[in-house]
Amino acid sequence: MEAASIEAADTSHGHGDHHGPPVAHHSSTVDAQTLGMLLFIVSEIMVFGGFFTAYFFIRIVNGNPWPAEGEELPQLIAGFNTAVLLSSSVTMHWALEAAKHGNRRGMKLGMLATLLLGSTFLTVQINEYVHLGFAPYNSAQASIFYGLTGLHGAHVFIGLTLLLFATVRVFKGHFTPDEHQGIEVPGIYWHFVDVMWVIVYVSVYIL
């Protein structure tokens, strides 16, 4: 005989609203927020993959000169910007380590420094757009240049927004050595944004 299962004593009392849900069983050592962020990053990488496909077709398959005739890319300023963004990853890590050790002053300084460096990056990039001397509609190369750097800029903005939330909570006294997911998870995203910039920088400005 097949037995579906062994029934609990009274299934009907489950209808009542008198108690909350049962505590879910944790079937993995990874916590849900971190895993969710990692999967989100996978799909973010694929968005960049789509844009890099366009880059590949316009530059390699079409054989267009890069950058287009009469256009110039400021390698040095963007290189300085790269250093700014990479150092923000270091300050982000500092903030997280401070949170793990319960160092509130380090948390505040680390988060503020990260926000400051991230905003500097965006400001420099917008300034670069203004002074580039070409617009997205000048050539397909210009389109994908603005496409890739703009997509990345949007991600910096999203990352900064997430970090701003975390910073507000840091200043309101949240997070302890045991409970610092609110810094760690946006931190993962921030490191992803930084690594992605290195790839964008190398393929757009250097190669």
Binding site: M1, E2, A3, A4, S5, I6, E7, A8, A9, T11, S12, G14, H15, D17, H19, G20, P21, P22, V23, A24, H25, H26, S27, S28, V30, D31, A32, L35, G36, L39, F40, S43, M46, V47, G49, G50, F51, T53, A54, F57, V61, N62, N64, A68, P136, Y137, N138, S139, A140, A142, S143, I144, Y146, G147, L151, F165, V168, R169, F171, K172
Partner: protein, 637 residues
């Protein structure tokens, strides 16, 4: 300010929608004045900005972001009082609700709503094609009809309806009280009606609805009237919804399984959604990218697809197809794998036998996920891409039939010498098995480069896609909806009407789509409102059959509505199924389980003496034999 505008709900949503329109108007006009563009007030620009911005205002008004605003500002988040769990009246289904069961029902009802709209458009397409020449609509309107039909069916019906069914049963099946991110789950649902409204509403746009097919190839799509933007932006919302749900499923499956529910004890529906979610997370961003390109080309004058701008600075048109199909080929597996899962459940339960080749079933799902990323260019044999890509793509496409074949034969192996219960869900499952096999075979034919070139853009393609998406996906959706109807509503459906529905659908489906193979090979082009007189007889017959096929879905609608209101009360486990969702009451208690059950065996041990899948209540994991003999003991928990 009246209280109605302060609390989350439809009044506040309406107010925020108006606010969003005002915002879009001012933002666009401000930017245009800064750049000195004329005219200052540009209807098209404002419309495009509104289509992107207003949905977010609407969602804020509806309350989808309330919790996160509290969280982000560091205010104490309101204690979770579970007020948003469960539905007490039909009104609760129109609110932001975090209960996966409510969201599941919201999904299924919304998606079927769009299925009927899309179906109506198919009827209009067939009415136009009933005779050669022009009947009811002109060429552009005809193109709009089939474009919106396909887009609604794909992005608003088949992809999300599977997410809806899985939303309902998947957490129950793995013994979880809810999804991993309930608020994200609610948000993903509410993105859907937005996408649907955009796509359906595109008929109101000046110049008509988008008319470039659901594939929206550039540069056709970058030179169309404003309605095209409804597709580009609508797809972004549907895609975001689908990515968020997939991410949610993956995290739920990985982190929230009941004790003892190892990966190799998961029901195949869970496996199928695991595989599908991987595909969604990895592939869907590509269609987002392709539509970003179109959007940027149209709205901001970028040149991704402009081949005429000049030597040394031109864009690439074939690139659109590569990026698009890199999503849209995996998307056909996104539209099929969850159906495989549904059918695996039904065939095993209804033939009272363990599923044949359980591990191979799971492995073949993962094989399809991997191979699914290696075949996209078989849609592009006539696109003018590099010739050398063709043969590798032909080979991988033929290979992908192998894991699919493994599944077909495993289902047949499950049926072999089983005690087969031929009720409605099983009929649809068997209908799927036969029809999908036919669609799969024409798929392998299409993999062959010479044959594909011969029938490219003919009705053979239309026949193939409807055999896999209607005979395949939709049959599994019907099977799943009938199968879980008792669990979701607590009522039994009408078996007799269900069987009439199946036979009417099955017969008229074949009468509608089988002849398309013939006229396709003879060369009748698809996506054209008119055709040569030699195809008149077949087309008239197809149109008549298709109207009956359309009518058959009304039987389904009547059965569902009437049974939900007046149906016989359902038992908790009417099919004597082993999986966990059937071990709780119908409909399930508000928090699914009083205590998380303990899984002690596989999910498909039908006909195996003494086999137990799970112990409900607080029983400790025990040896199977002891657990069977200790009925009274576990009841005390």
């Amino acid at each position: 300010m009246p209280a109605q505008l302060k609390t989350a709900g439809w009044y506040r949503a309406a107010a925020f929608t108006l606010l969003g329109l005002a915002f879009s108007f001012s933002l666009t006009t401000l930017i245009r004045s800064l750049y000195g563009y004329t005219p200052l007030i540009d209807g098209a620009a404002i419309t495009i900005v509104s289509m992107i911005a207003v949905p977010f205002f609407f969602l804020v008004g509806l309350g989808a972001f309330d919790y996160w605003f509290y969280w982000a500002s560091g205010r104490p988040t309101r204690a979770e009082d579970h007020a948003s769990h469960g539905a007490h009246s039909w009104r609760d289904y129109f609110k932001v609700n975090t209960d996966h069961k409510v969201i599941g029902v919201q999904y299924v009802c919304t998606t079927f709503f769009f299925m009927f709209i899309g179906g109506l458009m198919a009827m209009m397409v067939r009415a136009e094609l009933a005779a050669p020449g022009s009947q009811f609509v002109d060429g552009q309107d005809y193109n709009s009809l089939f474009s919106v039909h396909a887009s609604l069916m794909i992005f608003l019906f088949i992809v999300p309806v599977f997410a809806g069914l899985a939303n309902y049963v998947l957490p129950l099946m793995i013994g979880a009280p809810d999804m991993a991110f309930p608020r994200l789950n609610a948000l993903s649902f509410w993105l859907l009606p937005i996408a649907g409204t955009l796509m359906t509403g595109s008929f109101l746009m000046p110049g008509g609805a988008f008319a470039s097919g659901w594939t929206a190839y550039a540069p056709l799509s970058t030179t169309q009237p404003l309605g095209q933007m409804c597709f580009s932006i609508g797809v972004q919302f549907a895609g975001a919804s689908s990515i968020a749900t997939a991410l949610n499923f993956l995290v739920t499956i990985i982190t929230m399984r009941a004790p003892g529910m190892s990966f190799w004890r998961m029901p195949l529906l869970v496996w199928a959604n695991f595989a599908t979610s991987l595909l969604v997370v990895i592939a869907t961003p590509f269609i987002a990218a392709s539509q970003f390109f179109v959007l940027l080309d149209v709205a901001l004058g970028f040149h991704f697809f402009d081949a005429t701008i000049g030597e040394g600075r031109q864009g690439n048109v074939v690139m659109y197809q590569h990026v698009f199909w890199f999503y849209s080929h995996p998307a056909v597996y996104i539209m099929m794998l969850p159906g495989f899962g549904i059918v695996s459940e039904i065939i095993s339960v209804k033939s009272r036998k363990p599923i044949f080749g359980y591990r191979m079933m799971a492995f073949s799902l993962l094989a399809i996920v991997l191979l699914g990323f290696t075949v996209w260019a078989h849609h592009m044999f006539v696109s003018g891409m590099q010739d050398w890509i063709r043969v590798p793509m032909m080979i991988t496409t033929a290979i992908i039939a192998v894991p699919t074949g493994i599944k077909i034969f495993s289902w047949l192996g499950t049926l072999w010498k089983g005690v087969i219960h031929l009720d409605t869900p099983m009929l649809f499952a068997l209908g799927f098995l036969t029809m999908f096999t036919l669609g799969g075979i024409s798929g392998v034919m299409l993999a062959m480069v010479p044959f594909d070139i011969h029938v490219s853009d003919t009705y053979f393609i239309v026949a193939h896609i409807h055999y896999v998406l209607f005979g395949g996906s939709l049959f599994t959706i019907f099977a799943g909806v009938y199968f879980w109807f008792p669990k979701m509503t607590g009522r039994m459906y009408n078996e007799k009407l269900g069987k009439i529905h199946f036979w009417a659908t099955f017969v008229f489906f074949n009468l509608t789509f089988a002849p398309m193979h013939v006229i396709g090979i003879q060369g009748m082009p698809r996506r054209v409102a008119d055709y040569a007189d030699q195809f008149a007889a077949w087309n008239f017959a197809i149109s008549i059959a298709s109207f009956f096929l359309g009518l058959s879905s009304l039987i389904f609608l009547y059965n569902m509505v009437n049974s939900w209101r007046n149906g016989k009360k359902a038992e908790s486990n009417p099919y004597r199924s082993l999986t966990l969702e059937w071990q709780v009451s119908s409909p399930p208690p508000i928090f699914n389980f009083d205590e998380i059950p303990t899984v002690v065996g596989g999910p498909y041990e039908y006909g195996v003496p003494g086999a137990v899948h799970a112990i409900m209540g607080s029983a400790k994991p025990e040896p199977v034999a002891a657990a069977v003999g200790s009925n009274t003991e576990s009841q005390e928990g």
